[in-house]
């Protein structure tokens, strides 16, 4: 199978998950809270007269393990749904191969399980 990973702004986590389900029928995602640093400016803070900027901004990492055949479609959907229209900070998305993706409860390959489901 293929592992599709994306860094998205937190407001978009559910939009992306729903979009993937709508577009490809894929159900199953793991979400990790993260902070990111890139082109986007951080938030400015002031405390007792000292001004400083936090360079990290809240993001979320989404991990989808999907069948090879839908991988491209999933990624395209993610990229599309993750776009917020803000001028910066929307994040990135990539994919990589995952071998022997197994389903703990049944001990069988996830692909088979999903077919089964």
């Amino acid at each position: 199978m293929v592992k599709v990973e994306a860094v998205v702004i937190r407001e978009r986590v559910e939009t992306v998950i729903d979009a993937v389900e709508d577009a490809t029928g894929h159900v199953g995602v793991t979400v990790i809270e993260a902070v990111g640093h890139g082109r986007q400016r951080g938030i400015t803070h002031e405390y007792r007269g000292r001004v400083f900027e936090s360079r990290f901004l809240p993001k979320a990492v989404l991990i989808f393990l999907v069948k090879d055949e839908i991988a491209e479609r999933v990624q395209a959907t993610v990229i599309d749904a993750a776009r917020s229209g803000h001028e910066s900070g929307d994040g990135i998305c990539w994919r990589s191969p995952a071998e022997n993706v197994t389903h703990h409860r049944t001990g069988r390959l996830l692909e088979e399980v999903e077919v089964g489901a």
Partner: protein, 469 residues
């Protein structure tokens, strides 16, 4: 050997000052009730604003509010006692504050200013999480004056509603209903918080971030209410020596009934014993008994509290239903319940107690007469019209002229960081040097970085070892 008249002053002043101090502490109760029932990103702002508004109120009330309320005058407003002098404040039972016959004018100020502070604190509950900071200053001043005038009507012996025999022992109408009216005006003009209502108008729950805070706030309020109601005897002998203990009893049983009324109603109606509803029930009951605490029998106090607990639950739901976003539930808990408590006097006042307090007459259930109920209704109607229109007008003007709501980004980011520059719980949001889950080297501090150790032999920086993998 002290005169017994001096001892009466001593005892009365002790009681009134202690009661005032208990009521002042209610600011901490509101701070934590409100902070607990709102979100983390606004916690510092919500808690801190109670300090700010009480400060504003304290100075405005000293300068003119106290004079408006109790400085002699006509049926509508006091006309003396502005910027009171040392003499006016240390003397007992002298003009312009002769209404306070057993305590110095200063004790009168202290006891009345904390009431004004409570009324003002209520206002912001419904305006929480989206109002601009300067509005607290501007409207805080205006509301304190508006409050002072109304309290003159009902509590000053010169007041026209007082003369009609309106019963509002400690201020269900004067303090709570008024605060709720301004709160309602504010909530309407501000509009709901981002995310509160969906496109179809259905409400989203925005649970408060800290129920223990809300519990602490409620218990502090319950505690402070023992100054609020019993202290309103303004001395040790109103209603008889030690009568204020009886007022404390009705206050306590009503609050208890309110807790049960709230949680049971929630359990039955909402199918879950929602804790925030139980807490609202306690406060609603305390609000309701405020007017009645000196006038009713214990059984009636329990009825007043039970009904108030019910009002709190259905009121909060109803307010949300009609599309008003009231984060704390002030409109239902202080408004609806304040009205209920004021009218309850018209129903349950014991004639003997009305006589003891020399205010109005017995209630419907004892006298079969609607007279007192009518007086109470009149008071509620007039105060409702005046305070709501005044508050709405003032806030509407501010809104048109300068805007009273923060920008969308500020609201989304949270008022702590957008209005004050720093989170209420910084370590959960940003790296603080040596802070929680944080990187000791704060982002804004370059020099602090630990020097890198010289690369060891064989380290990738010098040798291509890893590349060889």
């Amino acid at each position: 050997m002290p005169e017994s008249s001096d001892l009466l002053i001593a005892a009365s002043t002790i009681w009134v000052v202690v009661a005032a101090v208990l009521v002042m502490f209610m600011q901490a109760g509101f701070a934590f009730l409100e902070a607990g029932l709102t979100r983390m990103k606004n916690a510092g702002h919500i808690a801190g604003k109670n300090v700010l508004i009480f400060a504003i109120c304290s100075l405005v009330y000293w300068a003119v509010g106290f004079g408006f309320a109790f400085g002699g005058g006509n049926g509508f407003v006091g006309t003396a006692g502005f910027f009171p002098s040392v003499e006016e404040l240390v003397s007992v039972g002298q003009k312009p504050f002769d209404w306070f016959s057993e305590v110095p004018g200063a004790a009168g100020y202290l006891f009345e200013v904390v009431f004004a502070g409570v009324s003002l604190a209520i206002v912001w509950g419904s305006m929480a999480e989206r109002a601009k900071l300067w509005v607290y200053f501007a409207f805080g001043v205006c509301f304190t004056l508006c409050y002072s005038v109304t309290s003159h009507w009902i509590w000053s012996p010169h007041g026209w509603l007082f003369k009609k025999g309106m019963q509002d022992f400690a201020g269900s109408t004067v303090v709570h209903y008024q605060g709720a009216l301004a709160a309602l005006a504010g909530a309407l003009l501000l509009g709901p918080r981002i995310g509160k209502f969906g496109h179809d108008g259905r409400a989203n729950p925005i649970p408060g971030h800290n129920i223990p805070y809300a519990v602490l706030g409620t218990l502090i309020l319950w505690f402070g209410w023992f100054g609020f109601n019993p202290g309103s005897t303004l001395g040790v002998d109103l209603g008889g020596f030690g009568y204020f203990a009886y007022v404390a009893l009705t206050t306590n049983v009503a609050a208890a009934a309110g807790a049960l009324g709230g949680i049971v109603t929630a359990w039955v109606v909402l199918k879950k014993p929602d804790l925030s509803m139980m807490l609202n029930g306690v406060i609603a009951a305390l609000v309701a008994i405020t007017a009645a605490s000196g006038y009713v029998a214990p059984w009636a106090a329990i009825v007043v509290g039970l009904v108030a607990g019910f009002i709190a639950v259905v009121g909060v739901i109803a307010v949300e239903r009609i599309g008003i976003d009231d984060p704390i539930g002030a409109v239902a808990v202080h408004g609806a319940s304040g009205v209920w408590g004021t009218l309850a006097c018209g129903l349950f006042t014991v004639p003997m107690l009305a006589d003891r307090l020399a205010t109005g007459h017995g209630g419907l259930v004892y006298t079969g007469s609607f007279h007192q109920l009518g007086v109470q209704l009149l008071g509620v109607a007039v105060v409702g019209a005046w305070t709501f229109s005044a508050s709405f007008g003032l806030l509407w003007t501010m809104k048109k002229l300068w805007g009273i709501r923060v920008h969308e980004e500020a609201e989304t980011l949270g008022l702590d960081v957008s209005e004050h520059g720093m989170w209420g719980y910084p370590e959960f949001y940003i790296p603080v040097p040596g802070g929680y889950d944080a990187w000791v080297t704060a982002p804004w501090e370059r020099e602090l970085r630990p020097q890198r150790p010289a690369p060891r032999p064989g380290s990738p920086a010098t040798a291509p070892a890893p590349e060889s993998a």
